[in-house]
């Protein structure tokens, strides 16, 4: 018996007939040629979130972003006019990487007045103009105006900085569409206290999205996180979402509130009972404007039991907003067909007291305990998919977002390949 109503079509999946209900093939996660196609068709064409405005607070603040999946590195910087710009991180003289420290592959951040190349000291201002050439007279008809840094499209939505390597891409807000519109006004700018986790995961990037875009696995894989009786109960009940919605290429899942706070305090760990916090975050919302009422895009099913909404902004950004007033993002940065860098950021309203900070610490530590279990499982999945012993996998109604993700990727790849022919 379903606990929550499903759409008239009979199931969430059938509510989107273009997705079908047949088993899904995961060749897209193991075929190296397909990975190459994804780079061109998706990562060099769509809007990618690379950070937040708080990372470039003042004129001259910058950070670099390694985009192996688009075969480039970018530098994002706030210019003299306060605008945020993104450039390819490559010197126009002989192609040295412009901004880096000791290890070319490592991302860096800082503040500067200009960028100076380590190789022959060419300099660029914060707007990307070439301003100085060492021994300029040795060159032949060199016009500095022709050798500025290569600009990349860069736009900001609600403080999230996005880039797009395609100069002809549609504007960011148009691309993000209805979900983004429905979230406007959420007080992201108040939640500036950040915990950033990084991990290298031995799986295709889509498999980790698959793991975080369904909660069907939670009562099983994460069973030991709960005390025994509660775990048994969760296992028997299983998992059902409150609501699913798709606005191609993006999608979302809306979920109930679980343990925040639990009706029965004996079901949570002693530390959670004392600190009143846990996986779902601090049980009480911070005292800021903008959480009541919430923007219309949150809790689209209008459920009383609502606990969080998780948005999948295609291709590789998850934005998960929790009812008690904090949020997190996941990014999945592919580095090979069977490898990616996973990055998770937890954003809170800055703690004013030690107790508030301890609640956040517990939420962050708990997040890591879960994510380690997810990450490890993915590596096991990747190796077995690669065996190709089984090629067709049935997905249930709670796995709707996975079906949508793999289809969307396929559509982008197909459209790109067709256009090339």
């Amino acid at each position: 018996m379903p606990h929550f109503a499903k759409p008239e079509a009979g199931s969430w999946t059938e509510n989107y007939p273009e997705l079908g209900t047949s088993p899904v093939n995961y060749e897209d996660s193991i075929d190296p040629a397909y990975y190459e196609a994804e780079k061109e068709a998706i990562f060099k064409k769509t809007w990618l979130n690379v950070g937040r405005v708080e990372q470039v607070p003042k004129v001259g603040s910058y950070f670099t972003k390694e985009l192996a999946v688009a075969d480039t590195s970018l530098v994002i910087v706030r210019g003299k006019d306060k605008e945020i710009r993104a450039f390819h991180n490559v010197c126009r003289h002989r192609g040295n990487k412009l901004v880096w420290n000791d290890y070319p592959g490592e991302e860096v951040k800082g503040t500067c007045r200009q960028f100076t190349c380590k190789y022959h000291a060419w300099r660029y201002n914060l707007d990307g103009d070439l301003t100085f050439v060492q021994q300029e007279k040795e060159f032949f008809d060199l016009d500095k105006a022709d050798y500025g840094l290569k600009l990349v499209r860069c736009e900001v939505w609600e403080g999230f900085v996005f880039v797009n390597l395609d100069q002809n891409a549609q504007p960011l807000k148009e691309y993000l569409g209805e979900f983004a519109k429905g979230l406007e006004g959420y007080p992201f700018h108040e939640m500036t206290e950040v915990f950033t986790y990084k991990a290298e995961i031995g799986s295709n990037w889509k498999l980790f999205i698959d793991a975080f875009a369904e909660f069907y696995h939670a009562p099983v894989l994460h069973m030991k996180q709960a005390v025994k009786d509660e775990a048994d109960k969760l296992f028997n009940v299983g998992y059902e979402a409150l609501h699913y919605e798709i606005h191609p290429p993006h999608s979302m899942i809306s979920s109930w509130g679980g343990m925040s706070p639990p009706k029965d305090l004996t079901i949570v760990k002693p530390i959670e009972r004392v600190l009143r916090s846990g996986l779902f975050g601090p049980w009480e919302a911070p005292d800021i404007e903008g959480l009541d009422p919430l923007p219309p895009g949150l809790n689209p099913g209008g459920h009383r039991a609502w606990g969080n909404d998780s948005f999948e902004f295609f291709p590789n950004m998850t934005l998960l907003i929790w009812k008690p007033g904090w949020y997190l993002t996941y990014h999945y940065w592919p580095t090979a067909v069977d490898k990616h860098l996973f990055e998770a950021n937890l954003y809170f309203v800055p703690a004013k007291t030690a107790r508030e900070r301890l609640k956040q610490e517990l939420a962050a530590v708990t997040f890591k305990e879960y994510a380690l279990q997810d990450g490890n499982t993915l590596e096991a999945t990747q190796t077995m998919l690669k065996s190709r012993v089984v090629t067709e996998f049935p997905l249930c109604d709670q796995e709707l977002l996975l079906r949508h993700l793999h289809k969307t990727v396929a559509d982008y790849v197909k459209e790109h390949t067709d256009a090339a022919q």
């Binding site: 915990f195 986790y197 708990t366 499982t377």
Partner: protein
């Protein structure tokens, strides 16, 4: 090292660690007995310690109070092995790792 009211925790001052990376490494390097002993001493004082620390603004914690807070961060970190896992590592996590590369300053 700690505020005098919490002298009972002095024997566990090696758990006063600056970063999550240090705290998690120490957890992995500790036996269940060591973590249990630390937990048994610190957990009953968690409420009282929070009350004590809340008398100060977080950004202006005196040195000893700041140490106490860092020690409580370690308590949070070992609460998983002690309360649920019965082992230092997260079960079913194999070789997976996850680094906390940015954490809020205290």
């Amino acid at each position: 090292m700690l505020p005098s009211e919490f002298a009972a925790l002095e024997p566990f001052s090696e758990w006063v660690l600056e970063s999550e990376r240090d705290r998690y490494s120490k957890r992995l390097a500790s036996s269940m007995e060591e973590m249990q002993a630390f937990y048994d001493a610190a957990f009953p004082l968690l409420e009282q310690a929070s009350d004590h620390l809340d008398k100060f603004p977080l950004s202006e914690l005196p040195k000893q109070e700041r140490n106490l807070l860092l020690l409580l961060f370690s308590l949070v970190n070992v609460s998983f092995p002690v309360e649920v896992w019965k082992q230092a590592r997260v079960p079913d996590s194999g070789a997976a790792y996850m680094d906390l590369v940015v954490e809020p300053k205290v």
